[in-house]
């Protein structure tokens, strides 16, 4: 969890392209700024020089007098929208100012060899650009004037900025285009990875089939092969776990068989029967509940396996008459219910309903629900059974008038080894888990609810209707 952002390959790639691009833009911006300044100064100098030339050309010599009519055009060409101040001065060869502002001194570098000069200076506390121009007056051998024009820097800065920012704007537009096309390209390139992720996500947690390697980009191939290798190893583990379960169950069963036989010997011994009857009976009861747990665990394992593989190996599908099966199961449980003073009440029994399924599974499903009801309701209660054809499903309802299950616990009771009342030891705590797994396998739905009009629990199984062939 060091840097959540960089867990994404896409973000990583984008960042590694974005950072150098920004760096390049930064360096480029510095260069562009310098170039913009140079371009702006060139424009400014040309204007100032042109202005100086126009002014100079108006100088006339009359003997030792200089005459000048400053032309408006010379200043108009310098006018701009930035309220820049313009200064000028015209001096003779001795440096005498005969027109313009006295503050504007002439350049020291302008002479017969260098006819013009441009530089920055300060006037009235404001920065200015100054251009000096050395002008030889026509028709007079040695006479010349020096014209200096200066202007504050408003237009120069404006031009620099506009040149600079326009270039930068174009850069950023290019950057955005680059990043968005990169994002799209990445999305398209990473599509197989997303598809792979989607396919894995859709799978059930117990689906251990290998992934297909057709149409996979070569870069992804090693990843998929590693996943398949891993899944293969997992599958092997699961198989050895199943073998272990079978072996463990085998050993437990044998041990229980021995305990059973020994307790029987004890029970048949007249002396022991007197002294240790209660103890031995308890022992026998515990063995019975242990056997039930072992059998239920194996049943759960085999139904879970059936849900993984889609095949239940311990039986074949047959046509089952549900009414016959329900009656058979009730007959099996009748003595146990009688002992607990629990009555069976068959409300409705449609004898025409058939399904095609594995009898062992259906018997296990219904038995578990009846057994669950008997285990969890008090003496003197009643279990009501109704088998009927509802609108869209063949429905078996098993309801009791016991204490029921609080609404917020209804989901929990399907969990393995979950017991509402942990003091009960006769129930394996697996019955409802098995029932749910069987329903998932045969495509039936199981619903637990509170019966209409009284306390208790109602379990309802809706069998898939397309499973019911016409009779």
């Amino acid at each position: 969890m060091k840097n959540h952002h960089f867990k994404s390959l896409k973000a990583r790639l984008l960042v590694w392209i974005l950072i150098p691009s920004l760096l390049i833009i930064l360096i480029d911006a510095l260069l562009v700024y310098k170039q913009s300044k140079e371009a702006a100064i060139l424009v400014e100098d040309n204007l100032l020089l042109a202005s100086a030339k126009v002014i100079s050309q108006q100088v006339k010599v009359d003997g030792s007098f200089y005459e000048i009519i400053t032309p408006p055009a010379a200043f108009e060409m310098l006018a701009d929208d930035f309220r820049d101040k313009v200064y000028f001065s015209v001096r003779d060869k001795s440096g005498f100012l005969f027109a313009g502002n006295n503050e504007l001194v002439c350049s020291t570098r302008v002479d017969l060899n260098h006819s013009e000069d441009a530089y920055f200076s300060t006037l009235d506390g404001e920065p200015v650009r100054v251009v000096s121009y050395f002008y030889r007056i026509p028709n007079s051998e040695a006479d010349f004037v020096e014209t200096t024009v200066a202007k504050t820097l408003g237009s120069y800065f404006a031009l620099t900025n506009s040149l600079f920012w326009n270039t930068i704007k174009i850069h950023f537009v290019m950057l955005i285009v680059l990043m968005s096309s990169l994002t799209m390209a990445l999305k398209w390139t990473l599509k197989p990875i997303n598809q792979l992720a989607g396919e894995l996500e859709k799978r059930s947690s117990r689906d251990l089939r290998p992934l297909t390697i057709d149409d996979v980009p070569s870069e992804l191939l090693p990843v998929i092969q590693s996943i398949n290798d891993y899944v293969f190893r997992l599958k092997k583990n699961t198989q050895s776990y199943e073998e272990f379960l079978q072996n463990a169950a085998h050993h437990l069963r044998t041990s229980y068989a021995i305990i059973n036989a020994e307790t029987e010997i004890a029970l048949r011994n007249p002396e022991l029967r007197q002294s240790g009857n209660l103890f031995i009976t308890n022992l026998k009861r515990q063995v019975a509940s242990g056997v039930k747990v072992v059998n239920d665990l194996l049943m759960l394992a085999s139904v879970e396996k059936a849900n993984d593989s889609g095949i239940f190996i311990n039986g074949k599908k047959e046509r089952i008459n549900l009414a016959e099966m329900v009656v058979g199961i009730l007959e099996k449980f009748a003595p146990i219910a009688f002992q607990k003073d629990i009555a069976f009440n068959v409300m409705e029994l449609d004898t025409t309903l058939n399904i095609v399924e594995t009898p062992l599974l259906i018997e296990e499903l219904i038995s578990n629900l009846i057994d669950n009801a008997i285990q969890h309701i008090p003496r003197g209660s009643e279990i009501t059974i109704a088998l009927s054809q509802q609108l869209c499903a063949t429905t078996l309802q098993i309801s009791d008038n016991g204490h029921g299950i609080p609404a917020d616990e209804l989901d929990n009771v399907f969990k393995r080894f979950y017991r509402l009342d942990s003091s009960r030891s006769t129930s394996s705590g697996l019955g409802l888990s098995i029932a749910r797994e069987i329903c998932a396998f045969i495509g039936a739905t199981i619903t637990l609810s509170r019966p209409l009009g009284h306390d208790g629990l109602q379990a309802e199984i809706a069998f898939k209707t397309n499973n019911n062939p016409p009779i």
Binding site: T254, A257, A261, I265, N277, V287, E331, A334, Q339, N345
Partner: protein
């Protein structure tokens, strides 16, 4: 009755030998398929109790050997494997019955009796439910070896129940069946009969259980204290 018990687990074998001897069986114990195979070459038994998971020759192979040698002694498989595939395979190979470990001794003995009876070609004329018994030849009901005194109608009702022991009989079936004896039996009369019969068979462990909406069934209900 001579039995051959083929079981590699010594503790279980000892307990079974002990228990079955009490029930007047003569039990010989073979710890492996090899021992059992050589015993079967010379000896004859009324019943073979065979465990599947043996060291050396597996139970299933021993069963195959027995049947290929045309030895037709009844074989009852005792196994911890309870998957239907194994059960079906072994029954198809010629086993006569299959019981999964752990089992109740009563059930094992009942299955043994059935097998021996079947092989001897005799159908037991006496139906037993707890200490209630019915001799189908003499038509006499007994509880703890004492004759039960029943009226003809009660006798007919109880006979129907014990002949379909453990199965439900609907009120309509009762009425149809009793019609020939008496003119007409109303459902309420049926209730009176069952109440009376219940009193007369009290203490036998046999109970007439009402399944409302279905009918009545006779079943052995062990006393709760000594039951499972």
């Amino acid at each position: 009755m001579r039995l051959l018990l083929v079981e590699d687990n010594l503790e279980l074998a000892n307990s079974l030998v002990h228990l079955l001897s009490q029930s007047a069986y003569v039990v010989e114990h073979a710890r492996s398929g090899e021992v059992a195979s050589s015993l079967l070459d010379t000896q004859s038994y009324d019943l073979i109790l065979l465990d599947l998971n043996l060291p050396g020759i597996k139970g299933q192979n021993l069963l195959r050997r027995i049947r290929t040698k045309n030895i037709d002694m009844p074989v009852l498989i005792i196994s911890a494997q309870n998957d239907s595939k194994t059960i079906v395979e072994n029954l198809d190979l010629g086993a006569d019955d299959y019981i999964t470990k752990p089992f109740q001794i009563d059930e094992l003995e009942a299955r043994m009796r059935t097998l021996i009876r079947r092989v001897n070609g005799k159908k037991s004329p006496v139906i037993v439910c707890g200490s209630l018994s019915y001799d189908t030849n003499s038509k006499i009901f007994k509880n703890h070896d004492q004759n039960i005194d029943l009226t003809p109608k009660e006798h007919a009702v109880l006979e129907l129940l014990i002949l379909k022991l453990g199965k439900t009989i609907s009120k309509q079936e009762f009425i149809n069946s009793l019609y020939s004896i008496n003119d007409f039996v109303s459902p309420s009369a049926l209730e009176i009969y069952t109440t009376r019969i219940r009193k007369k068979i009290q203490g036998s462990g046999a109970q007439i259980i009402t399944l409302r909406g279905l009918g009545y069934m006779l079943s052995f209900v062990p006393d709760e204290k000594s039951s499972l």
